[in-house]
């Protein structure tokens, strides 16, 4: 177990800068997710931590040990691959024992550890099978068992759930999180699935084009996105530009294209009067028939999609389109005119 530190990390492939000056501190036992669209550098960062790539600039530290030139087999990491990367010619047991064998552990000591891990992941009956005889979910668990059995300093996950079906994905991600908590191992998890990131992480690092856009816990990432990219990438967001008309303390009056809004910038950088700002709010922040809020919006429903627990709404307000949600029992159909209230604290002021 160890802390993990990346300082000013750069990785280039010919002309392409895959990882562009990244700084990251991961605490001992913390679960950090690297999240971003494909090509954002998240997997490259992970592979640099594992030692499959050596950094072009900057440093990788495990604890206070610099790891830059340490080959992957000398780093005490364990990686779960997207393809599972099980050894097809070895039985489940031999797959799991591989890392222990490489560490020259005695067979009797191996046995105890392997049995415990197999028990934990309900693989006990599958020891003699070959990977080709297992289902996707079972293969996934073998890959997980193989990586945790060595009790590494850092666990690395490269989109480990993307080959599972939706139901299993939710189940296994809970298992991974519980396992990591129980072992107390520092974990870096790469995914492009925002739900997964929100559900599993202590902290989320959102990456775009090799750079970090925002680091924060799932709540603050979702509630207070700092950039237009983060607001759009995590969940649904209504993003608009507006001119600040008035600033009183933390409360701003903003002229948006669809009308005037009151935004409380508590905990955020307070904009200056006269400035043009970008801001966002979530569809679920639009409370239907909420007369109490100072911000009142009335719009025409363009499209209503009934989802069971909620109804997804596309509405038009003074010629501007936005998304809303209704958990109202009343059925809403296209063409209805509906009013919403938005709390002043629901808005995030975005940079760039």
């Amino acid at each position: 177990m160890a802390t993990l530190t990346l300082t000013n990390l750069v990785k280039r492939f010919d002309e392409v800068v895959a990882v562009d000056h990244i700084d990251l501190d991961v605490a001992d036992g913390e679960f950090v997710t690297l999240l971003g669209p494909s090509g954002c550098g998240k997997t490259t960062t992970l592979r640099t931590i594992a030692g499959f790539y050596y950094p072009d600039e900057g440093e990788v530290y495990f604890g206070d040990r610099i790891m830059n030139n340490v080959p992957p087999n000398k780093r005490d990491t364990a990686m779960c691959f997207q393809s599972y990367a099980l050894f097809p010619h070895m039985s489940v047991w031999d797959n799991i024992s591989f890392g222990l064998k490489m560490r020259k552990m005695s067979t009797s000591e191996q046995k105890g550890k392997i049995e415990r891990v197999m028990e934990m992941l309900s693989l006990s009956d599958l020891g003699k099978r070959k990977p080709g005889q297992l289902s996707g979910g079972q293969q996934q668990r073998v890959a997980l068992a193989r990586s945790i059995v060595t009790e590494p300093e850092v666990l690395l996950f490269d989109e480990p759930l993307s080959n599972l079906d939706a139901k299993l994905r939710v189940q296994v991600r809970v298992e991974i999180r519980e396992m990591q908590k129980r072992l107390g191992t520092t974990a870096i998890y790469v995914t492009h699935d925002q739900d997964e990131a929100l559900a599993i992480s202590d902290r989320i690092v959102i990456m775009k084009q090799g750079k970090i856009e925002q680091i924060g816990d799932p709540y603050s990432i979702y509630r207070h996105p700092e950039t237009r990219f983060v607001a759009g990438f995590i969940g649904m967001a209504n993003i608009f530009d507006g001119v600040v008309l008035e600033v009183e303390g933390k409360r701003c009056t903003v002229q948006a294209p669809f009308g005037k809004l009151f935004i409380n910038a508590e905990g955020q950088e307070i904009p200056k009067k006269g400035a043009t700002i970008h801001f966002s709010w979530r569809p679920e922040d639009m409370k239907i028939r909420d007369r109490a809020s100072t911000n009142q919006i009335t719009g025409k429903v363009l499209q209503a999609v009934f989802m069971g627990d909620i109804t997804d709404l596309f509405i038009e307000v003074n010629g501007q389109k936005m998304r809303a949600q209704s958990d109202d029992e009343a059925k809403i159909v296209a063409g209805d005119s509906v009013s919403f209230g938005i709390a002043e604290r629901a808005f995030s002021i975005l940079r760039g």
């Binding site: 992957p72 087999n73 990686m79 393809s83 050894f87 097809p88 890392g99 003699k128 070959k130 193989r146």
Partner: protein, 285 residues
């Protein structure tokens, strides 16, 4: 789904050239060789069943030495070629700027007939060849090494490796290219160094390809005629060479047929042993 195609006279007609060729020329020639070794289809004199030709071959010192020599050449050439080709196949796994060029050069022997190849290599390893001359000039050796027509057969093995390297390389490269990068990375990640990755991942996963390469190489080297003629020892000759001597020099066509049958049977046996071994290797999967 369509019903199974009926075999119409038209289909039989269409298949005749291919299937007929196989049955008539290949099948019959094997049958005739076998029968000839048992005294039938005699070129001269009377035909009739006899084990005499088998007896005289099996009791002939020359024939048995030839058989042992051919077996030795088959085994050593196939092992040698795979040993040389495997590291190369690993090297060519990832394409690189210089590798394309190198890959083309390495394939050259594929297009050169074995007899021509033998004469090319002759210039290198003969008594007064390039290697000996160079070593002498450099004062590393005092008198030339005997690398050609040596009694062990190193000259033959050298030329076999040279000639068949690209062929074996192609088989091994395709076997190795089917190993996923992730698998290799996973092994390294779990602490496997270079040799562990080689012996625990690359070699076991490439084993089917290695076996195929060794079998095909064995069959080629075991039944070789031209290379042994040029670079082989004065005595013994290869089985194929002995067959030619038997038939052309002594006009003993039936005994030549016995040697032919021995080559065919050995080949079948090796292929059968391979398929059994392959079953064992993949038995658990």
């Amino acid at each position: 789904m369509k019903k199974k195609d009926k075999i119409t006279p038209f289909i039989i007609l269409m298949l005749l050239p291919g299937v007929g060729f196989i049955v008539f020329f290949i099948g019959s020639s094997i049958v005739i060789t076998v029968l000839q070794s048992l005294g039938f289809f005699n070129m001269m004199g009377e035909s009739g069943f006899t084990l005499g030709y088998w007896k005289s071959i099996l009791s002939s010192r020359e024939a048995m030495d030839s058989l042992l020599f051919s077996l030795k050449m088959g085994i050593l050439s196939s092992v040698g070629t795979v040993l040389v080709a495997f590291p190369l196949a690993l090297f060519f796994r990832k394409s690189g700027p210089a590798k394309g060029m190198l890959g083309s050069i390495i394939k050259v022997p594929l297009f050169i007939p074995a007899l021509v190849a033998s004469f090319l290599i002759l210039n290198l390893i003969s008594y007064h060849g390039l290697i000996n001359t160079t070593l002498m000039r450099l004062n590393i050796i005092n008198e030339p090494l005997r690398m050609l027509n040596d009694s062990f057969g190193w000259g033959v093995i050298t030329i076999q490796i040279w000639k068949n390297l690209p062929f074996v390389l192609l088989i091994l490269m395709s076997a190795i290219s089917s190993i996923r990068d992730d698998t290799i990375d996973a092994a390294k990640n779990l602490g496997a160094g270079y040799w562990s990755v080689l012996f625990r991942i690359y070699i076991p996963l490439a084993m089917p390809g290695i076996l195929v390469a060794m079998i095909l190489m064995f069959i080629r080297a075991f039944g070789d005629f031209p290379i042994t003629s040029v670079a082989g020892p004065v005595y013994p000759s290869s089985v194929a060479n002995r067959m030619q001597i038997m038939a052309n020099l002594y006009q003993e066509w039936n005994q030549a047929a016995v040697l032919g049958v021995i080559i065919i049977v050995t080949t079948f046996f090796v292929v059968w042993a391979y398929s059994r071994f392959a079953e064992l290797v993949q038995g658990g999967a």
